[in-house]
């Protein structure tokens, strides 16, 4: 796919989004609510055949953001799905691991360090934190100071 074809295909998913940001020609950010993240990622991975790069969990103070980065290796465009997890008390997001096995570790990592529970994850055990790390302390949250 070239950039123009990719842009056209991305139009198909705009109904599920709350916004699209573009920082430069080949960097696209698709903003969505947490309940739409699985479908948007499924569209990018299964239909558009984009490669899953990684996910980033961000503590944005008023909410959490989980960014799923994908890339089209033909045109070099990076498409990031930015999902807002607004419930800070019980943060939850649909897991994409059943769809993309390569996401297993990063979802476990985000669960460890930010405390976001990934529903339908096949194996949400600790990855980064030691077994005796206290429950309920999430080291990447802003309230935890170094």
């Amino acid at each position: 796919m070239n950039q123009e074809e990719l842009d056209n295909r991305l139009e198909e998913v705009t109904g599920r989004l709350i916004g699209v940001e573009r920082t430069q020609e080949n960097r696209v950010y698709l903003l969505c609510e947490s309940e739409d993240v699985y479908d948007v990622c499924r569209f990018l991975f299964s239909e558009l055949k984009l490669r899953f790069v990684i996910a980033t969990g961000v503590d944005a103070e008023h909410c959490f953001e989980v960014l799923h980065h994908f890339t089209d290796d033909e045109c070099g465009c990076m498409v990031t799905v930015k999902a807002f997890v607004r419930d800070r008390e019980n943060p939850e997001l649909d897991s994409i691991t059943p769809l993309i096995p390569g996401a297993e570790w990063i979802e476990r990592e985000i669960h460890d360090i930010l405390g976001i529970a990934f529903t339908h994850h096949p194996n949400l055990q600790r990855l980064i934190l030691d077994d005796d790390w206290p429950e309920g302390v999430y080291p990447l949250r802003k309230e935890v100071q170094r």
């Binding site: 920082t23 790069v53 890339t71 990076m78 993309i100 990063i106 990855l127 080291p139 170094r146």
Partner: protein, 405 residues
């Protein structure tokens, strides 16, 4: 009577004092065959992402170059590219070329390092000695350019700290000639050796579809016919100006990964020659005043695959979020697809074929029912080498020379 299902678990890891990464592989085995694999990581978690939030933008490259000594050019490069994306910095042409040359020198030394280790694991210590000997001058060149053999600390936001002086060019070119000749010999020795064919082909196969599902990158992907390479797909530094090709092999086995790495070494040599020839005149750094609010994604092709950095700025002088993904993070979980069904004697090699900053074979215990058999590093190596010797006999290859043992 209730029947208990006994599962034998072979534990590899978690600590090897000589390697910088600790990983813990739990292999479920049926006799000699691996039926499942479970990996635990993070024994050496250094909290780099959190630490990065406490540093100023221009201090972070020094931190991220210490993520990995071998990939200490590609991590800072991916990071500065993310920041340059936020600040819309135009990097001087000459700096782009210097970055390219340093990154390709890094690839040559890293690939030679891997070839040596792979040789060591299957009992070809001559290959190990050769490869590491030829790698040494590359490190010397890097030291001459940047001041360090590793942890070069050469890229900064807006360009490079150290230039490549014109008077160093002839020396680099002369060294490249030597490295090319020696790598040629090494490649020929590997590609023509019937024992290596028998030992490495069909071992640890990662199918293309599994590679896509596990999102693998670098030689691990290109050895499985997935022809992705950030240098080609989303060109950065000076790669789009150079004449080179992406190497890929369809087979997905250990042999294919070895071929990819060896042939890539030649492409790197070619690229450095061309880059030196085209090296434009001018400054190597542009002035960067402040980093505006925003977010950026930078990625670079490290020797092991794509290194990805995501940076978010709020307009202050420190990143408020900095995500790092090293290539092994996606390559290692693919063992779930490539190790199952393999025999224990091949697992050492299959795990090493991904080049995961390999560690951990020091402490290996095979627990089978009431009997406990302990394999240490030496006996595991012995298992792998015994298979090579057996194959050698089967295909009627000449006896091992003293230097090979």
């Amino acid at each position: 009577m209730k029947e208990t299902v006994r599962k034998s678990v072979l534990a590899v890891g978690p600590f090897h004092p000589l390697q910088e990464e600790m990983e813990f592989f739990q292999l479920t085995v049926d006799g000699e065959t691996v039926t499942d694999i479970n990996v635990r990581i993070s024994y050496n978690h250094r909290g780099i992402e959190k630490l990065s939030e406490t540093l100023q933008f221009d201090q972070v490259p020094f931190l991220v170059s210490r993520i990995c000594g071998i990939c200490s050019a590609s991590h800072p490069l991916a990071y500065v590219q993310a920041v340059e994306e936020i600040a819309q910095v135009k990097v001087p042409e000459r700096a782009l070329y210097v970055r390219t040359i340093i990154n390709e020198l890094e690839r040559i030394h890293s690939h030679l390092l891997w070839v040596g280790l792979a040789g060591h694991f299957i009992g070809y210590d001559t290959v190990f000695m050769w490869a590491w000997k030829y790698r040494e001058p590359v490190l010397d060149l890097l030291e001459e350019i940047t001041g360090n053999r590793n942890n070069y600390g050469n890229v900064k936001i807006g360009g490079c700290r150290e230039d490549i002086p014109d008077e160093l060019k002839p020396k680099i070119l002369a060294e490249l000639d030597v490295i090319e000749k020696k790598t040629e010999m090494l490649t020929k020795a590997v590609l023509d050796d019937p024992v290596l064919h028998a030992r490495l082909k069909g071992v640890g196969v990662l199918k293309k579809s599994d590679g896509i599902d596990f999102a693998v990158t670098g030689p691990t992907a290109r050895g499985s016919g997935i022809d992705i390479d950030v240098r080609h797909d989303d060109p950065y530094a000076a790669y789009s100006d150079l004449d080179w090709k992406v190497i890929s092999q369809p087979e997905g086995d250990v042999f294919a990964k070895a071929v990819v790495r060896l042939l890539e070494t030649f492409e790197s040599i070619k690229m450095i020659r061309e880059a030196l020839k085209k090296l434009p005149k001018g400054p190597v750094v542009a002035e960067v005043k402040e980093i505006p609010p925003g977010e950026g994604c930078g990625h670079a092709e490290a020797p092991r695959g794509e290194t990805f950095h995501y940076v978010r700025s709020d307009g202050g002088n420190r990143p408020i979020r900095h995500k790092v993904r090293a290539p092994s993070y996606v390559n290692v979980p693919s063992f779930k697809a490539s190790c199952i069904g393999e025999s224990i004697s091949d697992v050492t090699l299959t795990l090493a074929a991904v080049d995961p900053c390999y560690s951990c074979t020091e402490r290996v215990a095979v627990v089978d029912g009431h009997d406990t058999v302990i394999h240490d590093y030496a006996s595991l190596l012995q298992l792998s080498r015994a298979k090579t010797a057996r194959l050698r006999k089967e295909i009627g290859a000449p006896e091992m020379k003293l230097e090979d043992i």
